[in-house]
């Protein structure tokens, strides 16, 4: 009686009409829209890029020739392009550790503030919100060999004045310093979020265990607890610094040996209209990014999640 009345609202399963999909087919069906989007927006352009990189296609050219790996051979034997790879790697080598550690340092210091915290957060974050192209004009003035306040400061301290944006050995470090200035605030915010998530109990436990001093506390609790954040910051920072472009475009225009990867791609593709060659350079750029990201994701990820 009770069983019959309870099942009454539901029609018997046998009466259901229409065709049925197996779980697998249904799953595929659900995945199709995403698959189409990924194909249209990411995979297809990538294939086009790879195809282009094997040709001598130029914008407006009437004929198009298959070059095979010719573009890549040319690129890797071109001293200017090789210098741009070297410059980019040097830039990343300066900005990646600097951006991570300065971001962490600033975050730890700001985190300890109580009333002044809001002020410091805004102050360090301002460069992130400003447009680097516009701020480059300010940097140009600041770094000017004759008029710039940085050089006057150096001079008053007894150092010789330096031309920061034309002396070849200073070019990339100067650009890296500007890149850091632009980046630290962002990393600080990420680290602050990580710091806020550390349970207070752990600091209490560290203090009871005798690891309550600043150095011990940092090594026992803060740094290990921030490992996932650090991993994320390192990946985003390396991607951002690999893509350095605007400061080069505005401050040096690749003069005096300050070429970087993205600027080289831009010059070949959009100044000289050599789309095929530019596509080959882009592929090289992508390979760098890929190797870097995969290494970070697999190597670090294994050690930072508990």
């Amino acid at each position: 009686m009770t069983i019959a009345s309870a099942s009454a609202p539901f029609p018997p399963a046998a009466k259901r009409q229409g065709f049925r999909l197996s779980g697998e087919a249904l799953g595929t069906l659900f995945a199709v829209p995403a698959l189409l989007l990924i194909t249209a927006l990411i995979l297809a352009p990538l294939v086009c890029l790879l195809a282009l990189s094997l040709t001598d296609y130029e914008i407006g050219a009437v004929s198009i020739r298959w070059l095979g790996l010719g573009n890549f051979e040319k690129a890797l034997s071109d001293p200017v392009f090789r210098r741009s790879i070297g410059n980019t790697l040097l830039y990343v080598a300066l900005v990646l550790p600097g951006g991570v550690f300065l971001g962490l340092l600033v975050a730890v210091l700001v985190h300890g503030r109580k009333r002044s915290r809001g002020f410091y957060e805004v102050a360090y974050f301002l460069p992130v919100t400003s447009t680097l192209i516009a701020m480059a004009a300010v940097w140009q003035f600041l770094l000017h060999p004759k008029l710039g306040p940085i050089n006057s400061a150096l001079k008053s301290l007894g150092f010789a004045e330096r031309a920061f944006i034309s002396e070849p050995e200073l070019l990339i470090p100067t650009l890296a310093a500007i890149g850091l200035w632009n980046l630290i605030g962002f990393n600080m915010v990420l680290f602050l979020a990580g710091l806020a998530a550390i349970p207070r109990d752990l600091y209490d436990a560290a203090e009871i265990d005798g690891a309550g001093g600043p150095v011990n506390r940092f090594l026992t609790v803060t740094w290990p607890q921030l490992a996932p954040t650090t991993m994320f910051v390192a990946v985003t920072t390396s991607i951002t610094s690999f893509k350095v472009f605007d400061t080069v475009a505005v401050l040096t225009r690749g003069r005096d040996g300050s070429e970087v990867l993205l600027y080289a791609i831009y010059l070949e593709g959009f100044q000289y209209f050599k789309m095929g060659y530019s596509a080959a350079l882009t592929v090289i750029f992508l390979v760098f990014m890929l190797v870097f990201s995969v290494f970070q994701a697999f190597q670090l990820d294994r050690r930072v999640h508990y």
């Binding site: 203090e207 009871i208 005798g210 690891a211 309550g212 090594l219 609790v221 290990p224």
Partner: protein, 391 residues
């Protein structure tokens, strides 16, 4: 080495909120003392002050005969077990337990990656530490878990690792901040047992914070109940149960909770509940509103011919096997209900009719009276001139 603990008039305020108000108590060496009270009563703050994680505004903390107010938690040589275990998630159970020792015995460079291999004495010290860790792990039966990280351990196993980390330094005082509240009910009962055993085996002084009165009652040698930052009562569990000093203690200790009845004393001090004589007298407090409390096991159905002190209607009858709880709504005041606890074999002539009021009775010597401020009032029983008890 056994140490006691003395708190001298500890006060603490956060901003304008006073969380502790002149709390004084003395814990004898080797004692198991529970700090209980409802959430927000200040018990955790008091424990943090004993640990040295928080500074009191006023008063002194002494461990043994030494005033420790100026000492860091480490120097106080206390150990603490936290509610969320507070294990370092990136370290194995072994490393967690070893940390209090390695921090104390190795210099900073000897604990850093790579640099540590430069120290010639490090290997010897690490061997000593490993021996001590394994000895403690053996006592808690977690030797097999030492290589695992906290994320791979169950709640009960984590709690044991946290206990081992506390024990490994052989502290003079164990502080525990609701260590069992994150465990499921069955495991909690089991760990209660183990902690009691551990206390007996170590013979160390335990201060144990809990909001669970059953934990406090079953494990401690003495219980300190805090209420709104004040020490409401400090005594053995049975003292708190049998002679609660305040209404807050009476209602907090005991499960099911004590029955609280609104009572009134007339001009001659005779105490009545809803106009019915209770059999209690308070000559010193004529014409006052009082709270009269009776434990469920002291309330019974009135015998035939007896004048009941309460009239009530039966609402629910819960059978627990060994005992029975009868829930009554008071006649004329249905907002107030009382619980009567009967043994399994006790016969209750309920008559089946829930519409008719049933008479309930209690012996006057089992009732507790509290004045409007919630403080205990001594009463005289009817007829016999006995006092409930002498302090």
């Amino acid at each position: 080495m056994l140490f006691g603990l003395t708190l001298g008039a500890i006060s603490k305020a956060f901003g304008t909120t006073r969380v502790l108000d002149r709390v004084s108590l003395t814990v004898e060496p080797g004692e198991f003392v529970s700090l209980v009270g409802p959430s927000g009563c200040g018990k955790s703050t008091l424990l943090r002050i004993i640990a040295g994680l928080e500074r009191q505004d006023d008063g002194t903390v002494s461990i043994g005969s030494r005033v420790v107010d100026a000492l860091s938690p480490r120097q106080r040589n206390i150990a603490m077990v936290f509610q969320n275990y507070a294990l370092y998630p990136h370290m194995s159970a072994f490393e967690n337990i070893a940390l209090p020792l390695s921090v104390g015995r190795l210099s900073l460079p000897e604990r850093l990656p790579l640099l540590k291999y430069l120290s010639p004495r490090r290997a010897r010290i690490m061997r000593e530490i490993a021996n001590e860790v394994e000895a403690v792990a053996g006592q808690l039966k977690i030797e097999a878990l030492l290589a695992r990280k906290p994320g791979q351990l169950s709640g009960g196993q984590r709690q044991r690792v946290a206990l081992a980390r506390a024990m490994v330094r052989q502290p003079s005082l164990f502080l525990m901040d609701e260590p069992l509240s994150n465990l499921d009910a069955q495991l909690r009962v089991h760990m209660r047992d183990e902690l009691t055993d551990l206390h007996a085996r170590l013979g160390a002084t335990f201060v144990y914070v809990t909001h669970d009165q059953i934990e406090a009652m079953t494990m401690s040698s003495r219980v300190a109940m805090l209420d709104q930052g004040r020490l409401a009562q400090f005594g053995t569990p049975i003292e708190l149960y049998d002679r609660p000093a305040t209404l807050a203690v009476a209602t907090f200790i005991g499960s099911p909770a004590i029955n609280v009845l609104a009572a009134h004393s007339d001009a001659r001090g005779a105490v009545a509940i809803a106009g019915r004589a209770s059999g209690l007298h308070v000559h010193a407090l004529p014409d006052q509103a009082l709270s009269l409390c009776v434990r469920p096991e002291h309330l019974r159905l009135a015998r035939p011919g007896e004048t009941p002190q309460l009239l009530a209607r039966l609402r629910r009858n819960e059978h627990y096997g060994a005992e029975r709880l009868l829930h009554f709504d008071l006649a004329g005041d249905s907002a107030r209900s009382v619980i009567v606890r009967l043994a399994h074999d006790e016969n209750a002539a309920l008559g089946g009719a829930s519409e008719t009021a049933i008479g309930l009775a209690f012996e006057p010597q089992h009732a507790h009276l509290f004045n409007a401020e919630g403080l205990r009032v001594e009463a005289l029983g009817h007829g016999t001139s006995y006092r409930t008890a002498a302090q």
